[in-house]
Symmetry: C2
Subunit: 219 residues, 2 copies
DNA sequence: ACAGAAACATACTGATCGGTATGTTGTCAA
DNA sequence: TTGACAACATACCGATCAGTATGTTTCTGT
């Protein structure tokens, strides 16, 4: 065991690098954050980064991957459940909304990356592995899309265009990324309250009648 | 008049620079886009940029200001109208949603900038004039906030937390920025249809009953 | 005890970029 | 016609940064 230093973090070094990178990419953006910034954020130097990652875009890719893994892990339980569409959607949406609040660093970095790829096909630097990530993103969206379609067929959701509804709802659940700033004094309850409110609005946006929403909630 | 070249654009030169900057900042982000990129996008060189703008952050500031001016101009008519809260909100929301689609370049550049300032107070480079812009942004939000409060008092909107509802609704209306890609073959009707759908979902999210929404729409 | 490899730090390089200094060309007024 | 200024282009500078090459230290297996 490491005898002479355990004061800061007991995470394995690669994850420390990942955390620092996520933090810096979130704060200054991919292009704006230098690897020296990332290193300084860990109290180390570039040597440490290049010992674990081959390049800057490699590091970014790892951050994206980690963020996506967190996303899948969050909604997986709800998705795998045998609940009817409405409750299944609620479970997935609540988990996702909470995940967005709890993992802001990684999620913001991921969204920056996603945003770039959407606005401009290639050329921004973070190369071809981006395609792999875009495919993952589609898989993630399709999990929600599937539930939306099932719910529409069952008559619970009154949706016009599936893709518009899907994007709108996901954007709503993600919206905390753009305005919610986590404060020091904050319980899990606070975050759950915000998430629950977002889910309620999302459900209403999907055309679920308010009485059904509150009725189901108080079970 | 310019005799020997009128083939490309008849906009005044400063606006050409602004357009090119907005396009590049949107594609690669503020930090990722170089001034040579912007110049190349115009078929010119840096000389032209620095002839009209003092610095890169100055240019960014001008882009932001232009984008904000567009935003205010879009919702002003609805806001100044004497309509009741629901219709006033609908008018403002529809105009805003359409504006987001029509002016993607400037709006995306503006959102990048906003996003940075939120995630990290200062230090990202685009200096203190940012504060002025943040104040403008608040003014803009407050115009919607006012209508939301009036609507809640009137009993049309069933909202729990005003700020959460406000941010969620605005995020919904802005959501096209993150997934809508304008194609060549596209009429004003297409865009209006998307905007109308977003507004409907926003209204439902605010707790407006569906029959009221469709009833009001078919006036 | 020791070789080697893992886990970094340090020092350097080439390219890029914001900004500036200076040149060049058209325009217009006197 | 000419001089002055606007409207740029060109050339260059210093700083920054991704990436590399080369140490230096600590661990680990034998």
């Amino acid at each position: 065991m490491n005898l002479h230093q355990a004061h800061k973090s007991d995470k394995p070094p690669p994850e420390q690098v990942l955390d620092a990178a996520a933090a810096c990419f979130m704060e200054k953006g991919y292009a704006g954050a230098s690897l020296d910034d990332v290193a300084r954020h860990m109290g180390a130097t570039k040597g440490r980064i290049y010992h674990y990652f081959a390049s800057k875009s490699d590091l970014m890719h790892a951050v994206r991957k980690h963020a996506m893994d967190l996303n899948f892990a969050a909604i997986r339980p709800g998705y795998d459940s045998a609940l009817p569409p409405l409750e299944k959607f609620r479970a997935m949406a609540e988990a996702h909304a909470l995940n967005m609040i709890a993992e802001q660093r990684y999620q913001k970095a991921l969204f920056d990356s996603l945003h770039f790829h959407i606005t401009r096909g290639t050329s921004t630097g973070h190369d071809a592995r981006m395609e792999e990530f875009i495919a993952d993103r589609r898989l993630f969206e399709d999990m929600f899309r599937e539930v939306l379609q099932a719910g529409r067929k069952a008559g619970v959701f009154r949706i016009k265009t599936i893709s518009v509804a899907l994007h709108t709802v996901l954007t709503t659940l993600n919206s905390t990324l753009y305005w919610y700033t986590p404060r020091a004094e904050e319980t899990e309850q606070d975050r759950q309250a915000v998430a629950a409110e977002l889910v309620d609005m999302a459900l209403r946006a999907l055309g679920v009648s308010p009485d059904v929403i509150t009725k189901e909630k108080s079970k």
